[in-house]
Amino acid sequence: MPTREPLPRRVNQLLAALPDDDYQRLQSFLEDVPLALKQVLFEKQAPIEYVYFPIDCIISLVIKMENGETVEVGTVGAEGAIGVPLVFEGSRSPFTAFAQVPGRALRMRAQDLFAALEQNGPLANLMRRYAEAFLGQVAQGGACNQLHSVAQRCARWLLLTQDRLHTDEFPLTQEFLCQMLGVRRATVSEIASAFQKAGYIRYHRGWMTIVDRRGLEATSCECYRVIQGEYQRLLQTDWGST
């Protein structure tokens, strides 16, 4: 087997949680790939050809309606993986997945993942626990969308995004925030304006700056804490504790 540069395993928390021997066996099946802004990893109902382990990018999972409107159902960064249906031997995604923040990821062909999962070792165990946490996030998000205000949901989304990016400032278009929250532009403008007035954020020409994280935490609903807590419980990670 040809010698390969060590892959940046430690920054993806699922791969980092694998025992060294298991990771060594897996490494020859992993490919380090760049992901550009808006790059589509797979479309809804299209075959999932690869599972992706984000390193420093953020992937959005969205549902597209027939009229072109789009709503986010999940966000995945270095704490997780894209391609959860493969864990249940599924081959198609109920979501469209695209890069919300560009960066890099390690990817593995679906058939190689299936072979690795069949061995029922630490990777299978980890992927099952991750799938449970991810489903929890999607379920909590669905309930949150029904029951909580747009301001609460917006605060939750900003906190989760900051947790994954480990930075206070990131580019964010209004259309994207509309998709993430499933609301119209006027509503997003009102919320952004209210958050700016309260001193929680600055938002100018598409650049979002988190100024007062505690203020956002106080505004967010319980769902931020619940989602963060579930990942920590199931994966023993601290990805949300910035």
């Binding site: 790939v33 760049p34 992901l35 550009a36 802004l37 808006k38 790059q39 589509v40 990893l41 797979f42 479309e43 050809e49 690869y50 597209k64 072109g68 409107e69 789009t70 469209t96 695209f98 560009p102 580019p171 278009t173 209004q174 259309e175 994207f176 998709q179 532009r185 020409r205 598409g206 650049w207």
Partner: protein, 96 residues
């Protein structure tokens, strides 16, 4: 300030989809194809709006991808779902 509407943006996306070699050559990976298409479309949109793409990208402090999206945010009239058109005509045609 010159503005851009949905039919115009749709036409620019269709023209690029028809004329670009990026989607047919198969030489680039998916990230490079996405970046090239976003860059080409950013330049086309800037040309339509009478903006200097280099100055515009510098003002918006990020790569051509974000610069394209933010330029549309600031110049579209009336508002339309530009991401849907981007996906439909360009990004969904890129193989992983």
């Amino acid at each position: 300030m010159k503005t851009i509407d949905q039919p115009t943006f749709e036409r620019l996306c269709q023209d690029l989809s028809r004329n670009t070699t990026v989607l047919r050559e198969g030489k680039l990976n998916a990230a490079q194809q996405t970046e090239q298409l976003m860059r080409a479309l950013f330049h086309t949109v800037c040309e339509y709006l009478g903006l200097d793409p280099v100055a515009q990208a510098a003002e918006l402090r990020d790569g051509d991808g974000f610069a394209l999206l933010q330029t549309l945010e600031e110049h579209m009239e009336p508002e339309f779902l530009y991401s849907d058109l981007l996906d439909r005509y360009l990004l969904s045609k890129i193989r992983p």
